[in-house]
């Protein structure tokens, strides 16, 4: 393109760029571990969810930031507080317990809940929900 000489920038020059085809080769072997073992390791890691970051025991006040979705902070919206003694629990696990914290009135749904967990250490995750699309829910808090 620089072979052109032009004192002004008025001209628009379009030309075909022929691009080199880049082929990257991947190696799956070597280093004393075969590809099946690698896949097995990946699967093993992917099965284990990250630990829940919030826990408490006895009588506790659980608080969280208000979500900014209008539908969460409206009738039919709110939060669910899930808790379990398993530090890696998923909200769909069978032994998980749940407390509904629905929107009641005002500009936001409640953003705290007092809970008496009783004995032991309980892990807590919060999910926001709304009535849109029947019911929609957020991913659980970390």
């Amino acid at each position: 393109m620089n072979i052109f000489k032009n004192h002004k920038a008025y001209g628009t020059i379009i030309h075909t760029i022929i691009l080199p085809l880049i082929i990257s080769a991947l190696s799956c072997n070597g280093e004393g571990i075969d590809i099946k073992e690698k896949i097995g390791l990946i699967l093993a890691f992917s099965r284990s969810p990250a630990p829940v970051s919030v826990s408490c025991s006895g009588n506790c006040l659980i608080s969280w930031n208000a979500n900014r979705e209008k539908a969460v902070n409206s009738s039919g919206g709110g939060y669910r507080l899930y808790y379990s003694k398993n530090s890696h629990f998923q909200i769909s696990d069978a032994d998980v317990q749940m407390i509904d914290v629905p929107y009641v009135s005002g500009s936001t749904a409640p953003t705290s809940k007092s809970v008496n967990f009783g004995e032991g250490n309980w892990y807590i995750r919060i999910v926001a929900y709304s009535s849109l699309n029947g019911e929609s829910v957020s991913a659980p808090s970390d």
């Binding site: 393109m1 072979i3 052109f4 000489k5 032009n6 004192h7 002004k8 008025y10 001209g11 628009t12 020059i13 379009i14 030309h15 075909t16 691009l19 880049i22 970051s53 919030v54 826990s55 408490c56 025991s57 006895g58 009588n59 506790c60 006040l61 659980i62 608080s63 969280w64 930031n65 979500n67 900014r68 979705e69 209008k70 539908a71 969460v72 939060y79 669910r80 069978a94 749940m98 509904d100 007092s114 807590i124 995750r125 919060i126 999910v127 926001a128 929900y129 709304s130 849109l132 699309n133 029947g134 019911e135 929609s136 829910v137 957020s138 991913a139 659980p140 808090s141 970390d142």
Partner: protein, 619 residues
């Protein structure tokens, strides 16, 4: 800067008035039916039932009954619960069993309902496959694949409109070629512009719906068409019985003109335009253009917009390339307020022209055969230089008679020397050879531009190829458009485009070419082909079907405005998350975009961001 509108070599004229007539006839037959359509119950959730206990049922007994067939999922009311059935349980049998329980008032499936669909009465709505895909054929579409498309491959705008159509609390800046703010389908959605500020935040007085950074005045009228098309997709007035419908039926469209009559712009104009948008309260900026060079000033402007909470929708580009390997900016700027958009066709395949990028292109959106508003009536005057097999006598030669008609590489060409072949023939030394032709215009055009393709080889610095134009019937005295010497690389024709503002308002526009050589050295000469004079005459009722990532991007900008309007507390991160992660998984985008998703208005509306800031305090 390149705009990302797909331009095909063969221009297909759109018989829009005929289309409007036909649609008006067909829609007029049953307006009430189209106005609102109820979608009936379509089944139930496959593993959930709702059970209501009688009031006197002790809570201790309720848990036992629930756990017989599933787990408690949520409370519906004081006495009703949603039960998720255990794997293998049959809904009908579960309902029957619960109904037979004396402690149960009723049991039923968890039925699925759909929102009322709101179909706007805009006459061209049935052509807007990106908003509602009914397998319609876009008969004037220039993108040749997957037309018609697949039912349901769309943004689900109709479902979203049941929640919100009014985005008028949000200003969307169209940083582009301007907007025809008088267009009947846009005028009431234009940003006011009274008491606007300049790019630095200083008071400017009143602006006409935006600002023009091409000619540096407060009139951002679109003289190219592209910006008007983009604006229409974002926010053409919906349900007004005319034209098309935007993603938002009402919104504040700010016209920021940074691209000229040829669709070209500069860094300084773009930066000023972005800053103007930010200073005047835009929450969304649409950028359907880009370039291949990293531009620090451009980056800084978008970064500044981020600090004001502005979402930027940016086009991925139309080269069919991987942006991870060959960057396109602003898409490739590492800023989290940018949503980079690829184009999808009517079957939600990546449009063949669309760029992509596993780590750089975020989402896909409808971008092939998109109908929207246009700034006016385009008209093309083409010329092949010939009458029969000789030079058209309307091309008048002056000075040395060295220009002639030739066929070169299969193209009709105007050449100098007369026997040009790009191989051995040399032009003559010490000549001043001109050739020109006058073209008749209506005098009412608002933009007149020249496009031609050329290849040339001329003695550097001493032999010149000049391009002139004038409004007289003579080439000289004329206005010098440009001059060139040296070599066009390879054996290719290159495209040259010029604005001819003096021809605006004239009934005559003359274009001339000159080869001026000195007494030493000769080279292969000049060949000109694909000669077009493009005109645009503004009117307020034009529509056009165009393809490009330029057309996909405003679908996202419109959705961003909708999300800001629906959720007034939303930050730019919330909007970006809702668009990127609330989209619809599309196999054609898996592995070639960051999210693998197509934007979806309905899903983004009901998307909920993950709660944050959870703490536990022992009491």
């Amino acid at each position: 800067m390149k705009i990302y509108m797909r331009k095909y070599p063969v221009i297909i004229l759109i018989f829009i008035s005929l289309l409007i007539f036909l649609l008006a006839v067909s829609i007029g037959a049953s307006p009430d039916l189209l106005k609102k359509k109820f979608r009936p119950v379509t089944g139930h959730v496959k593993d959930e039932i709702i059970v209501k206990f009688k009031k006197n049922t002790p809570y201790s007994a309720r848990g036992d009954r629930i756990s017989r067939m599933g787990i408690h999922k949520s409370d519906i009311s004081r006495d009703a619960v949603l039960i998720k059935l255990s794997e293998g349980e049959n809904i009908e049998e579960a309902v029957k069993e619960y109904k037979n329980d004396p402690s149960i008032e009723y049991a039923q499936p968890n039925y699925i309902y759909h929102a009322y669909e709101i179909i706007p009465n805009d006459t061209n709505f049935s052509s807007l496959w990106g908003l509602k895909n009914t397998h319609q054929t876009i008969s004037e579409g220039t993108y040749p694949y997957n037309n018609p498309g697949t039912v349901g491959m769309d943004m689900d705008a109709v479902l979203a409109w049941d929640q919100i159509t009014d985005c008028s609390s949000v200003i969307v800046a169209v940083v582009d070629s301007g907007i025809n703010y008088n267009h009947v389908d846009l005028d009431t959605n234009m940003w006011d512009g009274t008491s606007c500020k300049d790019a630095s935040g200083n008071a400017l007085g009143s602006c006409t719906h935006g600002y023009n950074y091409v000619s540096n005045d407060n009139n951002p009228m679109d003289l190219y068409g592209h910006g008007t098309h983009v604006a229409g997709t974002i926010g053409a007035v919906g349900d007004n019985g005319a034209g098309t419908s935007g993603v938002c039926w009402s919104v504040k469209l700010m016209a920021v003109r940074v691209l000229d009559e040829l669709g070209s712009g500069t860094t300084s104009g773009v930066i000023s335009g972005i800053n103007f948008a930010v200073q005047n309260g835009a929450k969304v900026i649409n950028m359907s253009f880009g370039g291949s060079s990293y531009d620090q000033a451009f980056y800084d402007a978008v970064s500044n917009a981020r600090s004001y909470g502005v979402v930027v929708a940016a086009a991925a580009g139309n080269d069919g390339l991987n942006n991870d390997s060959i960057p396109a900016y602003p898409c490739n700027f590492d800023l989290d307020n940018i949503i980079c958009v690829a184009a999808l066709d009517q079957k939600y395949q990546r449009a063949t022209f669309s760029n992509y990028g596993p780590t750089t292109v975020d989402v896909g959106a409808p971008g092939a055969n998109i109908m929207s508003e246009w700034a006016g009536t385009p008209y093309i005057i083409s010329d092949d230089f010939k009458t029969g097999t000789s030079l058209d006598p309307a091309w008048i030669r002056v000075g040395n008679l060295e220009w002639n008609y030739n066929i070169h590489s299969g193209f009709d060409c105007l050449t100098n020397p007369v026997n040009f072949d790009w191989a051995g023939y040399k032009y003559k030394n010490s000549i001043d050879a001109g050739v020109y032709k006058s073209f008749t215009l209506s005098g009412s055009e608002d933009a007149v531009t020249l496009t031609f393709a050329s290849k040339f080889e001329l003695e550097p610095y001493f032999d010149y190829f000049r391009i002139f134009y004038s409004t007289s019937a003579e080439m000289m005295p004329g206005n010098l458009l440009d001059y060139w010497f040296g070599l066009t690389p390879g054996d290719y024709f290159y495209l040259f485009q010029y604005n001819m503002p003096i021809c605006v308002g004239s009934t005559t526009c003359t274009v001339g070419f000159e080869l001026d050589t000195d007494s030493s050295y000769t080279y292969r000469g000049v060949a000109i082909t694909y000669f077009n004079i493009d005109t645009l005459t503004l009117n307020n009722t034009s529509y056009k079907i165009v393809s490009g990532t330029s057309m996909a991007t405003p679908h996202v900008a419109g959705l961003a405005a909708m999300l800001f309007a629906y959720n007034p507390e939303y930050t730019y991160q919330d909007v970006v998350n809702s668009i990127k992660y609330g989209g619809e998984d599309i196999s054609a985008l898996a592995g070639i975009t960051v999210t693998g998703k197509a934007v979806n208005a309905w899903r983004s509306l009901y998307y909920i961001n993950k709660p944050t800031g959870v703490t536990a305090t022992k009491l």
